[in-house]
Subunit: 228 residues, 2 copies
C-alpha cells in the first residue's frame, strides 16, 4: 500500500504501519538530493569557517577544527532541528520544501519524528532552542579565547550526549521498531546519530582535562605564594 | 471506583482513569508516613555529612552545605529513583515495601511513573545510574579539593536540569493531565521537583564562574610570564 493514494490522502511508508498521519503527502526529493544538499551546504559552511578562523592570530589547528564542528552542529540544530520542532505538520507539505523533505526522509529511519513522539520533540526542542545558539557562541568563545570556552564546550557536549541517550533509550523501551528497514535503521538512526556520540565525547574529555589543568595551575600558584 | 476491588484486582486512583495497571495493589502507608520517613532519613544523612565535613580542615561553610546537598540528592537518585527504574512491577507489591509505597504515592502527582512512560524511565535511568554515583563522587571531590570538583558539579547539575526539562516538556506535550487533583499536582509534581531546578541552577552559576576565574588567573600568569 506504500505510496498509494487513499480517500484520506496518501498511504505513508513508515513503520509501524498503523501510524495515523492524516493528510500525509509523500516526499518529492530523492535521498541523494536531500543528503547532497545537506552535505554540500555543510561543506560550504565548514570551509568558510576554516578560512575565517585562519585569520585569527595564533589559533591552533585543533581549535580551528573545533570551530568548524561547532558551526556545523549549531546550524544543524537551529535550522534542521529547529524547523522540525516548530513545524508539526511538515509531512502534509504539498510542495517541495527542503526542510520538510529532510524530515519526511529521516522518518524512514525513525518514524517517531513524523509521529511527533513527545520524547523526541522535547529533546529536539532543547537542542534547537538552547544548544544551537550556544554552539555558535562557542565558535566566538574559541576565537576570542574566552575564559568560559571550555566549560561551555563541556556543557553543550554533555547536553548533546544526554539528548542522544534519551533518544536511544526511549526508542529501546518502546520496542525499537520505527525504521522502514535495516538500511534506514543503520544509515539514519545509527550512523547519522553516531557523530553526536563520539565527537561530543572527545570534546568533553579534552575540555574537562583543560579545566582540571587550570585549577591545578591555580592551586600550585597558591601553594608557592604561601611558601614565600 | 477508586480503591474498590474488581475481578482484575483493585481499581487504581490514578489519572487518566483508563490507565491499565493489571494486578494493582493500593498503598499501605499514609502520606505522612512516606514523607516523614523520607524527610527523617534525609535529615539524618544531611546531619551526618554536616558533622563529618566539619572535620575536614579549612572547608568553607558553603562547601559543607554543598556536600550535604550532594549526598542527599545522590542517595535520592540511587535509592529512590534507582528502585523505580529497576522495579517495573512496584505497583503490584502486596506487602508494605517502603520504596514501592513512595512511587505508588508519587504517581498520584504524575501517573506516568506507575504507567511506566518511556521518557520518564529514560530520564530516571540516566539519573539513577550515572548521576547518583557522580553526586557521591562530588562530595569526595569537594572534601579533597580535587581539580575536577567544579566541572563535575556543572556536569551533574546541568544533567539534572536537562532531565527535569525533558520531564516537564514531555508532560506538557502529552496534555499535562497525570495528577489526581491540583493538591498532588502542586505538592508532588511542581513543588517537589522545583528543588531540582533552583538548586542546580545556583550551583551551575557558582561553579561556572569559579572555572572562568581559574582560566582568567592562568591567562594573567601567562601574560606576566611573557612580559618578563
Amino acid at each position: 500500500m506504500a505510496g498509494a493514494e487513499s480517500s484520506q490522502g496518501y498511504a505513508h511508508p513508515y513503520i509501524p504501519e498503523d501510524l495515523s498521519l492524516p493528510g500525509f503527502v509523500p516526499g518529492f526529493l530523492s535521498m541523494s538530493t536531500i543528503v547532497g544538499v545537506y552535505g554540500g551546504s555543510s561543506l560550504l559552511v565548514v570551509s568558510l569557517m576554516w578560512i575565517l578562523s585562519g585569520r585569527v592570530a595564533k589559533l591552533a589547528k585543533l581549535d580551528r577544527l573545533l570551530m568548524c564542528w561547532w558551526v556545523f552542529t549549531g546550524l544543524t540544530h537551529m535550522v534542521l532541528e529547529g524547523y522540525f520542532v516548530f513545524s508539526p505538520q511538515f509531512y502534509q507539505k504539498t510542495t517541495p520544501h527542503y526542510l520538510a523533505e529532510v524530515w519526511k526522509e529521516y522518518s524512514k529511519g525513525d518514524s517517531r519524528y513524523v509521529g511527533r513522539d513527545a520524547g523526541v520533540v522535547s529533546v529536539e526542542g532543547i537542542t534547537a532552542v538552547l544548544e544551537g545558539p550556544a554552539c555558535l557562541l562557542v565558535t566566538y568563545a574559541i576565537a576570542k579565547r574566552k575564559s568560559y570556552s571550555h566549560v561551555l564546550q563541556v556543557a553543550i557536549s554533555l547536553g548533546q550526549l544526554y539528548g542522544t541517550a534519551v533518544y536511544f533509550i526511549t526508542s529501546f523501551l518502546e520496542g525499537d521498531n520505527f525504521a522502514v528497514d535495516s538500511f534506514y535503521y543503520y544509515a539514519y538512526y545509527i550512523f547519522a546519530n553516531s557523530f553526536w556520540v563520539w565527537i561530543p565525547t572527545l570534546i568533553v574529555i579534552r575540555s574537562w582535562s583543560k579545566i582540571c589543568a587550570a585549577f591545578t595551575a591555580q592551586e600550585e600558584k597558591r601553594s608557592r605564594a604561601k611558601k614565600r
